[in-house]
Structures are given as C-alpha cells and as structure tokens.
Amino acid sequence: MDKRRVIMHIDADAFFASVEQGFNPLLRGKPVVVGGSETQRGVVHTASYEARARGVRTGMPLFRAKAVCPEAVFLKGNYGHYKAVSLIFQEVYLRYTPEVEFTSLDDAYLDLSGALHLYPSARWVAEKIQQEVWSLTGVSVSIGIGGNKVIARIASGLKKPGGIVEVPAGEEQTFLADLPVDFLPGIGRMAKEKLFDLRILKIGQLAKLPKRVMEQLFGKNGVKIWRFARGEDVSPVMRKIFPKQISRETSFEEDTSDLKIVKGTLQYLCERIGKKLREERLICRTLGVKIKYSDFRFHATSARLPHAVNHGAELFGAAERLFDRLRLRRTRIRHVGVSVSDIESVNYQRFLFDEQTRRETLDSVIDEIRERYGFMAILPADTLELKRKYRMEANGYILHNPALTR
C-alpha cells in the first residue's frame, strides 16, 4: 500500500462576507464589507471579492473602505451565522475522513492517507467537497492537496477563489522554488525584510541556504522555516487541538481616558476569556494585553502567569498589572485587547483546602447561572460601569466590534 501522506487543506474564500452573501442572496454579486457600519469606527474584518476588486482590504479602516467603495454594503457580522456554516463544513469533511483538524471556523486539514483507497483520487474528493459546501452554504472553498500540512496550506492559497491545487509527491521543492518567501508560515514582515537584505526573495533561494545560517538568523524557528522551504513538515493532522491563543478585543465607541471604562472593559474581556476556557476545560499560562491609542500608536505586552488559570478575576488581576505597566502615555485610548496563550487542558495538581478549590466551586456555580439566565445574569461589579457605554443583551454587552463578540 502507498505510504505517502495525502493532506488536504481547505480554506473558505472571504469567509464572513461569503456567509453573509449565502444567508442573504440579495447581497450576491454586490461588494460586501464585514466589520461594522460605514459610520462606525473600526476596521474591515472581511471584504467580499467584489469589494476587494474595488480596493477594499482586510484591516482597512471602515471610513476608508467607504471612500474607496461607496456602493459597498457594510455589515456588522454575526458570529451565529459563521458558527452555523462552520458546523456544516465539519459535517461535510467528516464524511470523507475522520482525520480532520479544524484550525478555525473556516479552515481545516484533512488527512486522506488512510481513506484514499475508498475514492478515485484526492482531487475527486476535493471537487466533491467543493460542490457539497457550495450547495449547502453558498460559500466557495479553495483546496490545496500535498504530502504535508505546509504544502497543502500554501497550495490552497494559490488559486483563490474556488481553486484546487494539487502538488504531486516528490515535486514539493519544485513547487515551492519560485514562490515568494513570505508564503512560508513563520515569515512575517520583519523576517521578510531580513531576507530581502540578503537578496533572498524566493523560497528556492532560502532552501539552498545552509541550515546553520537560518538558525543564526531566526533561532530555533529558522530551522523549522528552512525545513518548510525544502517541503518538509512532519506535523500530524490532529483531531483535537488546543487553540494557540484565545483573544477578545474591542474598540471604544469614542476614544477614552476614563480608566474605569477601560479597566471595566478589560475585566469584561477577561471574564469572557475565562468562560471560554472553562467551557472547553482549558487553562492558560500566558496572558497578553494590547492598547491602541487615539493616534493609532500601538503597544502590546505579555507575561507568564505564576500558575495556570481559567478564572476571570485572576486573568483580570494579571491583565490590570500588565495594563498599568504598559500604559505610559497620557493619550486617550482607542482599542484594548486581552489574549491568553500556552493553552492546555485542565490537568494541574489539585490542592486540598485552598483558595483555588473555593474559586473553582464559585466558577462552576457562576457558569451554571449564566448557562441558565445568560452571561449578563452575574457580572463583576466593576464591569457594570460599561452599562453607560454599551447596550446589554442577555448574552453580553454589544461591543463595538460585534463580529468579535463571542
């Protein structure tokens, strides 16, 4: 039997916007921008291909998107829509193989190695998946097929929207050779500039560098990238993976220097992260805070927590300390965010008769109350300050960026 791995990476095209177009066919063929209404502050989360053709880009401020594409339909986004469509994706993928790794709402890796004998070819599976997803959701997906996850991922991004790119076994290096270096995972803007200074623009050039050079340039990560450039990646498709990071962030309706509001928001975001961690029975060991000022200058920092936590108040304690350390300017604040990383399952040593046990009991009671009466049924008193700024519904404050409100 052929021992070659066959990995498929499936990525939805302009996911949020495509879902909105699927849910409301009147939007099909029109430029759609998901992120907020055109009068709101904030940025574009996703633009449909029609909007992209008119110059709208992800991350662009909404007012600029409106300027470049006045006829666009601006939508706040609805997490319920995306979750529902993502569940349909999952159902479809799992019909073809049980080895599916869902990396986000809209992309996934499928390991077809063990199931391929059931189908005519990997391309046939890709075409069937594309058809099924399209007919059930109206969302188009791009698919990459290769011998490992990195090749499949790069391939899926090459022929968007709606493309299928298959890289035959043994041709990984040829496939990668002429692609720009920033197609490789791990090469961001800084790394690209570093390589540009060395006149290394293509992956083929990078693959020819001695491994030691990459190690000197980028440390441990350099070796990983060097292997990717040679088409090597042994990472498995894992059915259940822990998220690398969970983050919650929001912009303020108007820039503020009111620390009660800012800290109340931080606390609220920490509560939401704590809830998410406990729902998934996870803990985190690192917490990060970011601030964007009214002049768009941006600062972020993170710190390792003294012990693994999933309790909102503890997360907020750490977030507040980081925030106080980070906020050195007296400028008004536009945007705050909290993220947690180094996430693992709840498996720490339990202690007898300590505060942690009390807290866990309290958390489980709070979670039960929220399950029954909604997230807002019980809140830390400090976050009530936000009532002055945001509308409330049973499941939370309606923050400024609804697409990010989970």
Binding site: V73, H81, E371, Y373
Partner: protein, 84 residues
C-alpha cells in the same frame, strides 16, 4: 441596501419533518408572505432559551430574518432587508 430591525410577533405556518423545522408562510402587517427560498438557519442562545433564526426570501423577493423562540414557542420577524 438597508437592514431594519423589526422584532414584531408574527403568525407562521411551519413544516416539521425529520427533526427539522422550516417556515412555509407567514403573516406580517396583514399580508401573507410565502417562503420562496430558505437561505440558512442558525441558532443562538439566550440563557436556556434556544432561538432559531431563519434567513428567507419571500415570494415578493424580499429578504426576511424570522426568529423562533423555542421557550415561548413564538415567532417574530427579526429584520428585513430593503434593496435599494
């Protein structure tokens, strides 16, 4: 294109089959609309209340979002989309 939040109670004729439900006709503002196309269905939770949202196109070619509250067993017209 304008979206307008409505959230008004409506009467709906619903078809239940194979554990699925779908609105067939609804009456709003004294007018009966036939559901021409069901674009999608999603669920949200309000505490223990499970709310089913249906994105539909009516026979008048208008877009509506209908909302069924699983706790109260009532239907609402959540929002409409006015093309233009």
């Amino acid at each position: 294109m304008i979206f307008e939040d409505i959230f008004e109670p409506i009467e709906v004729i619903t078809h239940f089959k194979d554990g699925q439900m779908r609105p067939v006709r609804f009456k709003w503002n004294g007018r009966v609309y036939k559901v021409f196309q069901l674009n999608g269905h999603w669920v949200s939770n309000q505490g223990y209340n499970r709310q089913h949202h249906f994105s539909v196109i009516a026979d008048t070619s208008d877009y509506f979002e209908l909302l069924f509250d699983g706790f109260n067993f009532d239907w609402q017209i959540a929002r409409v989309c006015l093309d233009g």
